[in-house]
Symmetry: C2
C-alpha cells in the first residue's frame, strides 16, 4: 500500500474515533507508519488531508453504489437497487459512513463547492422526475423526496448498527423498509 493511502486510512479511523481536532497529525503519521514530514509531503495542511479524505471516501461510496445497483427495468427496482447498495455499503464500511456524517456536520463542508455536492444527485433527481411524469411517484418536489429517502437510509443504518442482527434479518429489514418507503412516495 502506498504511503499516501496508508495516511488516509489511518486518518479515517482516528478522525472517526477522536474527531478532527482531537487527532494530531503526529498520531496519524505514527499509525500510518510514516514520518511526520511525509504526511506534509502528501498533504500541505491538515485541512487538505481532511478534505481529500472526504473526496476519497465519497468516490469510493459512489463507485460501490454504481457497481452494485445495475440498471433494472422498472423504476421501483432501480430505486431499490440504489437503496440497497447504499445501505450495504454503509454496513460494510461503518467508519467511512461515519466520516461522511462527521464531515458534513463540520466546518470543513464549506470547503466543498456547491456543484461538487450536487453532482451525484442529478441522476437520482432525473429518476424521480421521470417517476412523477409517469404518475408512479407522488408529485412532490424532487429535493424533498430525496431528503425523505436519504434520512430514511440514514435512520435505518443507525438502527441496524445499534441492533446487530444476523445477515438474514438485516436483509429482510432493509427490504421491508424499502417497501414502506416506496408506499410512502407512490
Amino acid at each position: 500500500m502506498e504511503k499516501r493511502e496508508k495516511i488516509l486510512v489511518a486518518a479515517l479511523y482516528l478522525f472517526v474515533e477522536f474527531g478532527f481536532h482531537g487527532t494530531p497529525t503526529s498520531k496519524i503519521a505514527q499509525k500510518a507508519g510514516v514520518a511526520n514530514g511525509t504526511l506534509f509531503h502528501y498533504f500541505a495542511t491538515k485541512e487538505e488531508l481532511i478534505v481529500a479524505l472526504y473526496s476519497e471516501v465519497k468516490m469510493q461510496m459512489a463507485a460501490y453504489v454504481m457497481q452494485n445497483s445495475k440498471l433494472e427495468n422498472s423504476l421501483k427496482e432501480t430505486m431499490k437497487g440504489q437503496y440497497l447498495a447504499t445501505l450495504y455499503f454503509s454496513l460494510d464500511n461503518k467508519s467511512e459512513f461515519k466520516y461522511m456524517e462527521l464531515f458534513g456536520l463540520s466546518p470543513y463542508i464549506s470547503m466543498i463547492s456547491e456543484e461538487e455536492t450536487e453532482k451525484n444527485k442529478k441522476w437520482i433527481y432525473d429518476l424521480l422526475r421521470k417517476g412523477i411524469t409517469d404518475k408512479i411517484i407522488k408529485p412532490l418536489p424532487v429535493d424533498y423526496l430525496l431528503t425523505l429517502m436519504s434520512s430514511h437510509t440514514y435512520g435505518l443504518n443507525q438502527y441496524l448498527i445499534i441492533n446487530e442482527f444476523p445477515k438474514a434479518k438485516q436483509h429482510q429489514l432493509i427490504n421491508d423498509t424499502f417497501e414502506l418507503l416506496w408506499d410512502m412516495i407512490t
Copy 2:
C-alpha cells in the same frame, strides 16, 4: 444573565461553528465576557463544559416539546403534537439542534449513560406500544418505529433549513410530512 449561563451560550455558538477542539476555552471565556479562570470555576474541565451543555440543551428541548405538545385525545393527534413541537423547536433553535447532532457524533456521547439516553424515549415507546395493541399502528418493533420517525424529523428539518420557506409553507410541509409518516406506520 449569570456568568455560568453566559459561558454556556458562548460555548454553544462557538462549538457549532468551529467544532469542539476548534474552540479554545479562552475564546469561550472571551465571548462570554468573563475571565479565563471563571470558566474553570464553573466547569472543572473543557469536557465537563461540553457534557453540561449537552444536558442543558437536551432539557431545554424536552421542556419545549412537553410544553407545546399537550395531551390530545387521539393517538394520532398526540404523536402529531410531538412531531410538530420537535420540528418547531429545531427551526427556532438551529444552533441547539445542531449541537445535539454534533455531540451525538462525537466521542463525548459515551460520557452519557445508557439510562440518560433512554429516559426521554420511554413515554413515546409506551405510546407506540398502545397504538400497536389497539391495531392502529403496524406491529413493528417500537425502537424501529422510533428510528423511522426520528430520521423523518431530522430529514425534514434539514430540508426546511436549506430551503428558507415562508412560515405558512413550512407549516404546510410539516403537516403534510406528518401525514406521509402516519400513513407509513399505520
